[in-house]
Symmetry: C2
Subunit: 351 residues, 2 copies
């Protein structure tokens, strides 16, 4: 038998079986076009390697079918999940939200997906999250802290995946960090208060994570050096920070050290609560009592009086941390294993 008309090869090249989930697959597209599924895959992953005309038809059919690539299959086949695990202590804290925004800004355009875990400041949950996220076979991991359990450290080491730590610094060359010196920042604020002439400076802290404690060390060292340290002016509790707690802790401080003339709160939430408490008790700020915070949350410039605080480069920590991680993933050399982005003392009305 002769075929007289020109015939386009229409034998289905794909495997031509129905997908188990009913969702369109590469094969569905391939069959529809009478081409092989690998070409469809290439049309999306390496567009330059597929003829323009064919690629356009592929994209068209993919659109018609509502094709969405299956990342699990892709990850499995390519040994690259394009996932980045990010574990933070809390979403309620604007500090971490800003960092996340920075991270996303870098990751998304590069095709990476951020997998977010919230540890609620618990090292136990942190350990569980690290384990849970390793199951996603992430290409890299971003952690907020340097202090985690030995079991977590072992798991991370064995996973052999790049890890970047944020918010703190380290001088070990095999540990990658982007942050600033919490201790130096604590010191800077205390020195500012000393320079303003305050002598009886208190420190109020909650949520005693390593960053908070480092700020506390900065405070203490500075006052000890100035011969003005008095332990009764330190109020430190493990409870989660909140505005309401700031007020309560100020109340407690004023009971145990009524002659205090300045308070350095370990974060702006507490400090704002402190300011409200002062308003409630008609304590004039800063003439009767100076108030300082930490982080420069967006509200802190608007309070009455406006709040003296330490602005921290959170968004940049996120972007630079993400960039460092991507460099590590792609085996580029990283110029410094620890990047210090510094901080900025914001002198405002409250001191």
């Amino acid at each position: 038998m002769w075929i007289l008309n020109p015939v386009i090869d229409s034998k289905p090249k794909g495997r031509a079986r129905a997908s188990s989930t009913g969702r369109a697959t590469l094969d569905d597209i391939a069959v529809k076009l009478g081409i092989s599924s690998i070409t469809v895959s290439r049309a999306f992953r390496h567009p330059g390697k597929v003829a323009d005309e064919l690629r356009e038809r592929i994209v068209k059919v993919a659109d018609d079918l509502g094709y969405v690539r299956n990342r699990a299959a892709s990850a499995l086949a390519s040994a690259r999940s394009m996932n980045i695990a990010v574990i933070i202590p809390s979403l309620g804290n604007a500090v971490f939200v800003d960092i996340l925004n920075g991270i996303e800004k870098v990751l998304r355009p590069r095709g990476y997906q951020m997998l977010l875990g919230v540890s609620h400041y618990s090292s136990e949950e942190e350990a569980a999250l690290v384990r849970a996220y390793l199951a996603f076979d992430p290409d890299g991991i971003i952690l907020p802290s340097l202090n985690y359990r030995d079991s977590t450290r072992r798991l991370l080491e064995r996973a052999g995946k790049p890890v970047v730590h944020l918010m703190e610094l380290s001088d070990q060359p095999n540990i990658h960090c982007v942050g600033f010196s919490q201790e130096a920042a604590g010191k800077a604020m205390t020195e500012h208060l000393l320079a303003k002439g305050y002598k009886r400076i208190a420190f109020i802290a909650s949520q005693l994570d390593s960053r908070t404690l480092a700020r506390g060390r900065g405070y203490r060292d500075t006052l000890v050096e100035a011969g003005l340290y008095d332990p009764k002016r330190e109020v430190m509790v493990p409870d989660p920070s909140s505005i309401a707690l700031g007020g309560r802790l100020l109340e407690r401080l004023l009971q145990q050290a009524p002659d205090t003339d300045a308070v350095f709160f370990c974060n702006d939430d507490l400090a704002q609560g402190g300011l409200f408490e002062c308003a409630r008790r008609k304590i004039a700020v800063p003439s009767q009592l100076a108030v300082a915070g930490f982080n420069d949350l967006s509200a802190s410039a608007s309070t009455v009086p406006s709040l003296t605080t330490v602005a921290t480069p959170r968004f940049d920590i996120g972007t630079q941390g993400a960039n460092m991680l991507l460099a590590l993933i792609e085996h580029q050399k990283v110029s410094h294993s620890s990047i210090d982005l510094g901080f900025d003392l914001k002198r405002r009305e409250s001191t």
Copy 2:
């Protein structure tokens, strides 16, 4: 040749090839124990179906090797990704953070992983996120809103995955919602202000999403009905909400309608900014000007004066939304397609 000693069958039953990534696999464990990999898989997924003694040995070896299951492979083989996509407009807004905490509370113990996307209040980004997350083959999807693009709707429909909407209500039986009536809440607050005797009530709003607009409708309808509606007391801008913006918008309002005696801010952030602005201008609250907010953020009980607002059941919306989604995923029947969790007017000092 005779083997005289008792010999435990030690022929490796696994496939005995090295994993491509270097990470331990089920096969590695199987080979080490001289059993088949399917048994190892079962030891984790259906522990009851593997003899206790053997299971213990499996777990031990898994631990030694630092085995972490590969979710991509698991998802591919079982056609269940155990992922839930959650798309919210912003992480800076405590409202959504509370919802997320509620969702996580339900999902994590059930083994589901939440994949979080932030749309920054952009329907374009929202569409891109839906597409991006469909690539994870999620078992279900949680969305904050009912209003999204047609293309997004089509994509969701074609994906055929259960979807639950939060924060709003719908009377369509095929749309699943957990939330409350934003409009009724706006009405309730406005009625409260009327009951307090205020006559010249303003409404200040930003970030004009569907929820904000619904609250505005509640406000407007109530005042129109009372014969007290005056369009010059409505200040509505599309900018993102912030405390600072609250102050600026109050300033604008007082220019265009200086005789206003009460302001209903569409959220607590703006309202707190409004309170600060009053403090700055020495406007007595509530005697000269009453101030009300919306959402009852944690700070709102601590402000001076404390802020009248509408408490919204955010955490519960998260938990119930997640539960509804899981029910849909597991094909259980859902008693109501729309769950109204109501709201709670918090009468405080500011009105």
